[in-house]
Every structure is written in structure tokens, then in C-alpha cells.
Symmetry: C2
């Protein structure tokens, strides 16, 4: 059955085209940023956010190794996305909610800032554009964030957005799941 | 975003091969039976169940129009699947839980018999084989069935089965969703 990370990437690959603007809201080790940079191509641009210097350093290194030139890294919270995007139309964004794998597990994304970032990005989405949330919730504070973010997404007006959820439901170790928001006409 | 019925069909298409045994546990108007008959080919066999004569009649008509010869229709509850399958290995099964569209809405699938059928089929699944449940739950009794069946699936041992759920979560009209069970090694 389709795994969570490939499923999340497929949701991006289905919509992101050459020349698009895309956002990695939590750049972590940079893998999603690299994927987005390839999808938008040399005519596109990717904005990648993280509040941890280590994440920006790791991502910067990965981008250098891959000779990537279309990414702007921001050592800043994703709730400040509007400072960098202004009124640019956005095709896609990805969030990994939880903590940076291998790093300090006390630094986690918070529901208030996550939701603020989603709101700012949803207002900039083009028709057919998507926000993909990969929600890790096994850590302390994870349940609270999961519930707040899922409730927010469930309440999005179906006239303007479609929201889907995909998850493995019989695993005892609370695996991550995906919530995806797509802008309708 | 991928719709529910195409998603359910894709889960079948990904695994069913020429020569397989497959089950339409609720044949309804016969569309899933027709899909399965094409996937298993002339060397395969499809067993289709329904407790309503109208469903068997509709399906029989559709199969005739399409010159299908590899389907056995059973006017019987899917909980009696073992009477017809004996110990045959099964590649895939699909259930539409709820009522037959356009027909008597008081005749609905019931959680006890649904779960009995799932149990009998899961024991006959080959490795990689799938049971796909499309769960309609907007009707009277639908919530009870949904909760029983989902709880059953959530409790399936992850050593032997993977279980996923895919749904639209911001629609107020309680749309159907998909639960899929895949047999592991």
C-alpha cells in the first residue's frame, strides 16, 4: 500500500509545474526543498523556512551538492511567509509537522503558527494548488497539534477547498498521516 | 484530488492479475463486478454476492451486454462466501457498504454480516491481496455500521495486515470513504 512520504510527494508532483512558486514550510534536512526545486525548474522559485539553524545549514549543503539555484532559504518561522512571498501566487506547499528528525525533539512546530502559515498560504494558492501536511504526532505535544490542525482543515469551506486525509489506521506506533488541501475555483 | 470510486478501483487494479479469484461482496448494479471480470481475464473467476434479486438481475443484464463469462452470481449474503469459495485463495474483494443506489434504502448491509464476510475473505487472501471497503454512512444505521467496521479494521494485527483509510474530511454531506486491507507476508 502506498507509503506516507511517497504519497505526499505524489500530491506535489501531480500539480507543480515549470515556473511555479512553491514553499517548503519546514525544510528540515532539505529533501522536500530539493524535490520542489526540481519540480518548479529554473524558471520557478522555492521558498524554504525553518526556525532551526541546523535545518537551514543541512538544506543549504544539500542544495549546494545538487547545484540548485532556485531556492531561497529563510531562517524564520513559516508564519512569516507573507514577508517573503508578498502577493505572489503559490502552486504548492509542504509542511512536516512535528520535529526535525535526529535533532532536538523539544523544538517542535506549534499549532498556532502552523495554522497562521496555512491561512496565509491558502489565500495565495492558485486554483488546483495544494498544501500538503505530513503530520507526525507521536511526540509530546503532537496530539494537541494534530487535533488543532486537523480541526482547522475540517472546517475549511468546501466551496473553496477540498481536504483529504490518508493514513494507516492499524499501527500501534502512531505513524504520520497526510492531510491535503486543494484550492477549488 | 482523487475521487473515492476511482481510488477504490485503482486499489484493485494495482493488485488483480490474469487468472485471479476476486469477489464483489455487494454487486449492486454490477459495475465493480464488470471491472473485476476484466481484471481477472478469461482464466480467472469472480464471485459476486447480493441479497437483493434486483441487484442480481441488474448485474446479470450488464454482464450479458458485455459478453462476460467468468462471473458467478450468488443471490446470497456475502457472509456465506465460504460456501462458494471453499479454500480458494483470493486476490481481491470489494464491498460497497450501505444500500443499493436507487433501490429500497431500508435494505442495508449490517455490521455483523459484513465483518463475518471480511473475516472469511481475509483468511483466504494471498500475500499482497486486498479487501477494499467503500463505506457509505449517511443513511440510517450507517453510523453504527461505519463505527463497527472501522473498529474491526483498526484492530487487525499489523504483523499480518496493513490497513489504510482515505477520505474527504471537510464535506458536510458525509461522503463515502475507503478503508483498504492488504495481506502482508
Amino acid at each position: 500500500m502506498k507509503r506516507i512520504i511517497p504519497y505526499a510527494h505524489e500530491l506535489l508532483q501531480e500539480v507543480v509545474q515549470d515556473g511555479d512558486v512553491a514553499i517548503d514550510a519546514t525544510c528540515g534536512n532539505g529533501h522536500d526543498t530539493l524535490l520542489l526545486s526540481r519540480l518548479v525548474g529554473i524558471n520557478g522559485e522555492v521558498h524554504s523556512f525553518d526556525i532551526q539553524e541546523q535545518a537551514i545549514t543541512n538544506t543549504s549543503q544539500l542544495l549546494k551538492e545538487n547545484h540548485v539555484t532556485n531556492v531561497q532559504l529563510h531562517l524564520d518561522g513559516h508564519e512569516n511567509v507573507d514577508k517573503y512571498l508578498h502577493d505572489k501566487a503559490v502552486r504548492a506547499a509542504i509542511f512536516n509537522l512535528g520535529y526535525l528528525p535526529g535533532e532536538d525533539h523539544s523544538i517542535i512546530t506549534k499549532p498556532e503558527t502552523t495554522i497562521e502559515a496555512i491561512q496565509k498560504i491558502q489565500d495565495r494558492l492558485v486554483t488546483g494548488g495544494r498544501i500538503v501536511l505530513v503530520i507526525y504526532h507521536g511526540h509530546e505535544g503532537g496530539r494537541e497539534e494534530k487535533e488543532s490542525v486537523v480541526s482547522y482543515c475540517e472546517a475549511l469551506d468546501q466551496k473553496h477547498f477540498e481536504v483529504t486525509r490518508y493514513e494507516f489506521i492499524n499501527q500501534i506506533n502512531r505513524p504520520p498521516f497526510v492531510v491535503a488541501i486543494e484550492k477549488r475555483k
